[in-house]
Protein backbone atom coordinates (compact mmCIF):
# COMPACT_ATOMS: atom_id res chain seq x y z
CA UNK A 1 0.00 0.00 0.00
CA UNK A 2 3.12 2.16 0.14
CA UNK A 3 2.09 3.88 3.36
CA UNK A 4 4.65 5.91 5.26
CA UNK A 5 5.70 4.83 8.72
CA UNK A 6 8.74 5.73 10.86
CA UNK A 7 12.02 4.26 9.66
CA UNK A 8 13.40 3.52 13.10
CA UNK A 9 11.41 0.33 13.44
CA UNK A 10 13.11 -3.00 12.91
CA UNK A 11 10.66 -5.71 11.93
CA UNK A 12 11.39 -9.25 13.02
CA UNK A 13 9.03 -11.71 11.39
CA UNK A 14 7.80 -14.77 13.23
CA UNK A 15 5.31 -17.37 12.03
CA UNK A 16 3.10 -16.63 15.03
CA UNK A 17 3.50 -14.24 17.96
CA UNK A 18 3.26 -17.36 20.11
CA UNK A 19 6.87 -17.96 19.12
CA UNK A 20 8.00 -14.80 20.87
CA UNK A 21 9.42 -15.67 24.29
CA UNK A 22 9.79 -13.30 27.25
CA UNK A 23 13.53 -13.73 26.97
CA UNK A 24 13.48 -12.35 23.41
CA UNK A 25 11.83 -9.20 24.70
CA UNK A 26 14.20 -8.86 27.67
CA UNK A 27 17.28 -9.46 25.55
CA UNK A 28 16.19 -6.72 23.16
CA UNK A 29 16.31 -4.25 26.04
CA UNK A 30 19.54 -5.74 27.35
CA UNK A 31 21.10 -4.98 24.00
CA UNK A 32 19.87 -1.40 24.02
CA UNK A 33 16.50 -1.33 22.28
CA UNK A 34 14.35 1.63 23.34
CA UNK A 35 11.07 -0.19 22.86
CA UNK A 36 9.58 -3.39 21.55
CA UNK A 37 6.12 -4.24 20.43
CA UNK A 38 4.56 -7.53 19.48
CA UNK A 39 2.03 -7.43 16.66
CA UNK A 40 -0.25 -10.42 16.51
CA UNK A 41 -3.50 -11.54 14.96
CA UNK A 42 -6.83 -10.34 16.34
CA UNK A 43 -7.86 -12.32 19.39
CA UNK A 44 -9.89 -15.31 18.36
CA UNK A 45 -8.35 -15.31 14.89
CA UNK A 46 -4.99 -16.84 15.65
CA UNK A 47 -4.07 -19.27 12.91
CA UNK A 48 -2.55 -21.51 15.55
CA UNK A 49 -5.46 -21.16 17.96
CA UNK A 50 -3.98 -19.27 20.92
CA UNK A 51 -0.47 -18.14 20.06
CA UNK A 52 -1.45 -14.49 20.28
CA UNK A 53 -2.99 -15.08 23.72
CA UNK A 54 0.26 -16.60 24.96
CA UNK A 55 2.13 -13.64 23.49
CA UNK A 56 -0.10 -11.22 25.39
CA UNK A 57 0.60 -13.01 28.66
CA UNK A 58 4.33 -12.90 27.99
CA UNK A 59 4.22 -9.20 27.12
CA UNK A 60 2.43 -8.59 30.45
CA UNK A 61 5.17 -10.48 32.30
CA UNK A 62 7.88 -8.58 30.45
CA UNK A 63 6.17 -5.31 31.47
CA UNK A 64 6.27 -6.32 35.13
CA UNK A 65 9.93 -7.28 34.97
CA UNK A 66 10.91 -4.09 33.16
CA UNK A 67 9.03 -2.03 35.74
CA UNK A 68 10.74 -3.87 38.60
CA UNK A 69 14.22 -3.19 37.24
CA UNK A 70 13.60 0.45 36.40
CA UNK A 71 13.60 0.34 32.61
CA UNK A 72 9.86 0.96 32.33
CA UNK A 73 7.10 -1.42 31.35
CA UNK A 74 5.50 1.04 28.94
CA UNK A 75 8.32 0.33 26.47
CA UNK A 76 6.84 -3.05 25.57
CA UNK A 77 3.37 -3.40 24.06
CA UNK A 78 1.08 -6.00 22.57
CA UNK A 79 -0.90 -5.02 19.49
CA UNK A 80 -3.58 -7.06 17.76
CA UNK A 81 -4.44 -6.47 14.16
CA UNK A 82 -5.29 -8.42 11.07
CA UNK A 83 -2.79 -8.77 8.26
CA UNK A 84 -5.10 -6.83 6.00
CA UNK A 85 -5.00 -3.70 8.17
CA UNK A 86 -2.12 -1.84 6.53
CA UNK A 87 -3.15 1.66 7.65
CA UNK A 88 -3.53 0.51 11.24
CA UNK A 89 -0.05 -1.01 11.13
CA UNK A 90 1.36 2.34 10.03
CA UNK A 91 -0.66 4.17 12.67
CA UNK A 92 0.52 1.84 15.46
CA UNK A 93 4.11 2.32 14.26
CA UNK A 94 3.75 6.09 14.56
CA UNK A 95 2.04 5.92 17.95
CA UNK A 96 4.64 3.55 19.36
CA UNK A 97 7.49 5.72 18.07
CA UNK A 98 5.87 8.76 19.72
CA UNK A 99 5.40 6.91 23.01
CA UNK A 100 9.00 5.72 23.08
CA UNK A 101 10.25 9.22 22.18
CA UNK A 102 8.41 10.51 25.23
CA UNK A 103 9.78 7.73 27.43
CA UNK A 104 13.27 8.65 26.34
CA UNK A 105 16.18 6.42 25.33
CA UNK A 106 16.83 3.09 27.03
CA UNK A 107 18.77 3.96 30.22
CA UNK A 108 21.06 1.03 29.54
CA UNK A 109 22.11 2.53 26.23
CA UNK A 110 23.23 5.67 28.02
CA UNK A 111 25.22 3.63 30.53
CA UNK A 112 26.87 1.65 27.75
CA UNK A 113 27.83 4.80 25.85
CA UNK A 114 29.27 6.29 29.01
CA UNK A 115 31.35 3.14 29.59
CA UNK A 116 32.56 3.07 25.99
CA UNK A 117 33.66 6.71 26.17
Amino acid sequence: MRLQYPGNIRIIRVPCTGKVDILHLLRAFEKGADGAYVVGCLEGDCRFDNGNLRARKRVEQAKEILDAIGIGGERVQMVNLSSGEGPKFAQVAMEMTEKIREAGPNPLKIVKEKNAA
Binding site: I65, I69, L108, V111
Partner: protein, 222 residues
Protein backbone atom coordinates in the same frame (compact mmCIF):
# COMPACT_ATOMS: atom_id res chain seq x y z
CA UNK B 1 6.42 -33.12 42.48
CA UNK B 2 7.67 -30.33 44.67
CA UNK B 3 5.84 -27.13 43.82
CA UNK B 4 7.62 -23.83 44.28
CA UNK B 5 7.01 -20.21 43.39
CA UNK B 6 9.45 -17.62 42.08
CA UNK B 7 10.66 -15.18 44.70
CA UNK B 8 9.87 -11.54 43.88
CA UNK B 9 12.67 -9.93 41.89
CA UNK B 10 13.15 -7.24 44.52
CA UNK B 11 13.88 -9.89 47.14
CA UNK B 12 16.51 -11.58 44.99
CA UNK B 13 18.13 -8.24 44.17
CA UNK B 14 18.33 -7.49 47.89
CA UNK B 15 20.07 -10.86 48.47
CA UNK B 16 22.77 -10.42 45.82
CA UNK B 17 23.27 -6.71 45.40
CA UNK B 18 26.73 -6.72 46.95
CA UNK B 19 28.28 -9.41 44.75
CA UNK B 20 30.14 -8.99 41.48
CA UNK B 21 30.10 -12.41 39.87
CA UNK B 22 26.92 -14.40 40.30
CA UNK B 23 25.81 -17.80 39.04
CA UNK B 24 22.11 -18.48 38.57
CA UNK B 25 21.62 -22.24 38.91
CA UNK B 26 18.36 -23.83 37.83
CA UNK B 27 17.01 -27.34 38.16
CA UNK B 28 15.59 -29.42 35.35
CA UNK B 29 13.03 -31.31 37.42
CA UNK B 30 10.17 -30.16 39.65
CA UNK B 31 10.79 -26.42 39.44
CA UNK B 32 10.88 -26.66 35.65
CA UNK B 33 7.43 -28.27 35.64
CA UNK B 34 5.96 -25.63 37.94
CA UNK B 35 7.66 -22.93 35.84
CA UNK B 36 9.60 -21.43 38.71
CA UNK B 37 13.24 -22.44 38.34
CA UNK B 38 13.93 -24.16 35.06
CA UNK B 39 16.19 -23.12 32.20
CA UNK B 40 13.71 -20.50 31.00
CA UNK B 41 13.31 -18.91 34.40
CA UNK B 42 17.10 -18.90 34.85
CA UNK B 43 17.44 -17.02 31.55
CA UNK B 44 14.77 -14.51 32.50
CA UNK B 45 16.19 -13.88 35.97
CA UNK B 46 19.74 -13.52 34.62
CA UNK B 47 18.63 -11.04 31.96
CA UNK B 48 16.59 -9.02 34.46
CA UNK B 49 19.47 -8.89 36.94
CA UNK B 50 21.97 -7.88 34.27
CA UNK B 51 19.75 -5.01 33.23
CA UNK B 52 19.11 -3.96 36.82
CA UNK B 53 22.78 -3.79 37.74
CA UNK B 54 23.72 -2.12 34.47
CA UNK B 55 21.08 0.50 35.14
CA UNK B 56 22.54 1.05 38.61
CA UNK B 57 25.96 1.59 37.04
CA UNK B 58 27.36 -1.50 38.71
CA UNK B 59 29.56 -3.95 36.80
CA UNK B 60 28.17 -7.40 37.63
CA UNK B 61 28.80 -10.58 35.69
CA UNK B 62 25.89 -13.00 35.72
CA UNK B 63 26.17 -16.52 34.38
CA UNK B 64 23.60 -19.24 33.95
CA UNK B 65 23.49 -22.98 34.34
CA UNK B 66 20.69 -25.50 34.70
CA UNK B 67 21.60 -28.73 36.43
CA UNK B 68 19.62 -31.93 35.98
CA UNK B 69 18.85 -31.98 39.72
CA UNK B 70 20.36 -30.34 42.75
CA UNK B 71 19.52 -33.14 45.17
CA UNK B 72 22.07 -35.71 44.03
CA UNK B 73 25.84 -35.64 44.51
CA UNK B 74 26.63 -36.50 40.89
CA UNK B 75 24.81 -33.52 39.44
CA UNK B 76 26.13 -30.99 41.95
CA UNK B 77 29.67 -32.25 41.36
CA UNK B 78 29.41 -30.79 37.85
CA UNK B 79 30.00 -27.41 39.47
CA UNK B 80 33.13 -28.50 41.38
CA UNK B 81 35.62 -26.98 38.95
CA UNK B 82 33.80 -23.76 38.24
CA UNK B 83 32.07 -22.66 41.41
CA UNK B 84 35.07 -20.96 43.01
CA UNK B 85 35.09 -18.22 40.42
CA UNK B 86 31.67 -17.00 41.63
CA UNK B 87 31.07 -14.72 44.61
CA UNK B 88 27.56 -16.08 45.08
CA UNK B 89 25.05 -18.49 43.62
CA UNK B 90 21.30 -17.98 43.34
CA UNK B 91 19.80 -21.44 43.23
CA UNK B 92 16.35 -21.71 41.72
CA UNK B 93 15.98 -25.29 42.94
CA UNK B 94 13.63 -26.19 45.75
CA UNK B 95 14.78 -25.84 49.34
CA UNK B 96 16.33 -29.30 49.11
CA UNK B 97 18.64 -28.29 46.28
CA UNK B 98 19.65 -24.99 47.83
CA UNK B 99 20.64 -26.76 51.05
CA UNK B 100 22.49 -29.59 49.34
CA UNK B 101 24.46 -27.13 47.26
CA UNK B 102 25.31 -25.13 50.37
CA UNK B 103 26.47 -28.32 52.13
CA UNK B 104 28.69 -29.19 49.22
CA UNK B 105 30.25 -25.83 48.55
CA UNK B 106 30.99 -24.43 51.96
CA UNK B 107 32.91 -21.35 50.86
CA UNK B 108 30.32 -19.97 48.44
CA UNK B 109 27.15 -18.26 49.68
CA UNK B 110 24.10 -19.89 48.12
CA UNK B 111 20.86 -17.88 47.99
CA UNK B 112 17.37 -19.24 47.29
CA UNK B 113 15.53 -17.96 44.23
CA UNK B 114 12.20 -19.67 44.83
CA UNK B 115 9.87 -20.25 47.76
CA UNK B 116 9.27 -23.98 48.12
CA UNK B 117 5.62 -24.68 48.84
CA UNK B 118 4.41 -28.29 48.90
CA UNK B 119 4.26 -31.69 47.22
CA UNK B 120 1.51 -31.48 44.69
CA UNK B 121 0.08 -31.96 41.22
CA UNK B 122 -0.46 -29.89 38.10
CA UNK B 123 -4.23 -29.54 37.88
CA UNK B 124 -3.87 -27.49 34.71
CA UNK B 125 -1.13 -25.24 33.41
CA UNK B 126 -0.68 -22.52 35.97
CA UNK B 127 -2.58 -24.26 38.76
CA UNK B 128 -0.78 -26.49 41.23
CA UNK B 129 -2.34 -27.91 44.37
CA UNK B 130 -1.15 -29.82 47.42
CA UNK B 131 -1.67 -33.54 47.65
CA UNK B 132 0.89 -35.02 50.02
CA UNK B 133 2.52 -33.94 53.25
CA UNK B 134 4.92 -36.81 53.66
CA UNK B 135 3.45 -38.18 56.85
CA UNK B 136 5.33 -41.43 56.44
CA UNK B 137 2.31 -43.70 57.01
CA UNK B 138 0.26 -43.80 53.86
CA UNK B 139 -3.41 -44.73 54.36
CA UNK B 140 -4.56 -43.95 50.83
CA UNK B 141 -5.67 -47.55 50.44
CA UNK B 142 -8.36 -47.01 53.05
CA UNK B 143 -9.51 -43.62 51.79
CA UNK B 144 -10.04 -44.31 48.10
CA UNK B 145 -6.86 -42.54 47.05
CA UNK B 146 -7.68 -39.21 48.71
CA UNK B 147 -5.46 -38.10 51.56
CA UNK B 148 -7.17 -36.72 54.66
CA UNK B 149 -3.83 -35.65 56.18
CA UNK B 150 -3.02 -33.20 53.42
CA UNK B 151 -6.45 -32.33 52.09
CA UNK B 152 -8.55 -32.14 55.25
CA UNK B 153 -8.00 -28.86 57.07
CA UNK B 154 -8.27 -30.66 60.40
CA UNK B 155 -6.39 -33.77 59.22
CA UNK B 156 -9.24 -35.93 60.49
CA UNK B 157 -8.92 -39.66 60.07
CA UNK B 158 -12.53 -40.61 60.47
CA UNK B 159 -15.14 -38.86 58.48
CA UNK B 160 -16.15 -35.26 57.99
CA UNK B 161 -16.53 -32.82 60.82
CA UNK B 162 -19.71 -30.85 61.46
CA UNK B 163 -18.39 -27.97 59.40
CA UNK B 164 -18.56 -29.80 56.09
CA UNK B 165 -21.25 -27.99 54.06
CA UNK B 166 -22.40 -28.97 50.56
CA UNK B 167 -19.12 -30.74 49.96
CA UNK B 168 -17.02 -27.73 50.95
CA UNK B 169 -14.75 -27.21 53.92
CA UNK B 170 -15.79 -24.66 56.55
CA UNK B 171 -12.53 -22.73 56.24
CA UNK B 172 -13.09 -21.77 52.62
CA UNK B 173 -15.82 -22.25 50.07
CA UNK B 174 -13.11 -22.92 47.48
CA UNK B 175 -11.82 -25.91 49.40
CA UNK B 176 -13.45 -29.26 48.82
CA UNK B 177 -14.23 -31.26 51.95
CA UNK B 178 -11.72 -34.10 51.68
CA UNK B 179 -13.99 -36.49 53.49
CA UNK B 180 -16.88 -35.72 51.17
CA UNK B 181 -14.57 -36.57 48.30
CA UNK B 182 -13.51 -39.78 50.05
CA UNK B 183 -17.08 -40.93 50.68
CA UNK B 184 -18.12 -40.11 47.12
CA UNK B 185 -15.17 -41.98 45.70
CA UNK B 186 -15.69 -45.01 47.98
CA UNK B 187 -19.30 -45.10 46.81
CA UNK B 188 -18.20 -45.09 43.17
CA UNK B 189 -15.75 -47.89 43.90
CA UNK B 190 -18.43 -49.87 45.72
CA UNK B 191 -16.27 -49.88 48.86
CA UNK B 192 -18.40 -47.96 51.29
CA UNK B 193 -17.76 -50.71 53.86
CA UNK B 194 -14.23 -49.33 54.15
CA UNK B 195 -15.79 -46.16 55.50
CA UNK B 196 -17.33 -48.09 58.40
CA UNK B 197 -13.89 -49.24 59.52
CA UNK B 198 -12.53 -46.85 62.16
CA UNK B 199 -8.97 -45.74 61.41
CA UNK B 200 -6.99 -45.86 64.69
CA UNK B 201 -5.06 -42.95 66.22
CA UNK B 202 -2.18 -41.97 63.94
CA UNK B 203 1.41 -42.54 64.91
CA UNK B 204 2.80 -39.09 64.19
CA UNK B 205 6.39 -40.03 64.94
CA UNK B 206 7.00 -40.74 61.25
CA UNK B 207 5.78 -37.24 60.41
CA UNK B 208 7.96 -34.13 60.60
CA UNK B 209 6.51 -33.62 64.07
CA UNK B 210 8.75 -36.45 65.19
CA UNK B 211 11.90 -34.56 64.14
CA UNK B 212 13.95 -34.39 60.91
CA UNK B 213 13.71 -37.72 59.15
CA UNK B 214 16.02 -40.11 57.38
CA UNK B 215 15.46 -43.21 55.34
CA UNK B 216 18.22 -45.83 55.44
CA UNK B 217 18.14 -48.83 53.18
CA UNK B 218 20.82 -51.28 54.21
CA UNK B 219 19.94 -53.53 51.32
CA UNK B 220 21.04 -51.00 48.71
CA UNK B 221 23.95 -49.40 50.54
CA UNK B 222 27.35 -50.30 49.14
Amino acid sequence: MIVAEKKPLEEIIEEVKDFNKILIAGCNECVTVCEAGGKKEVGILASALRMYFMNQGKKVQIEEITLERQCDHEYLEELRNSIDQYDAVVSLACGVGVQFMAEKYLTTPIFPGVNTCFMGVTEERGVWSERCQGCGQCILGKTAGICPISRCAKRLLNGPCGGSTKGKCEISKDLDCAWQLIIDRLKELGRLDDYEEIIPIKDWSTERAGGPRKVVREDVML
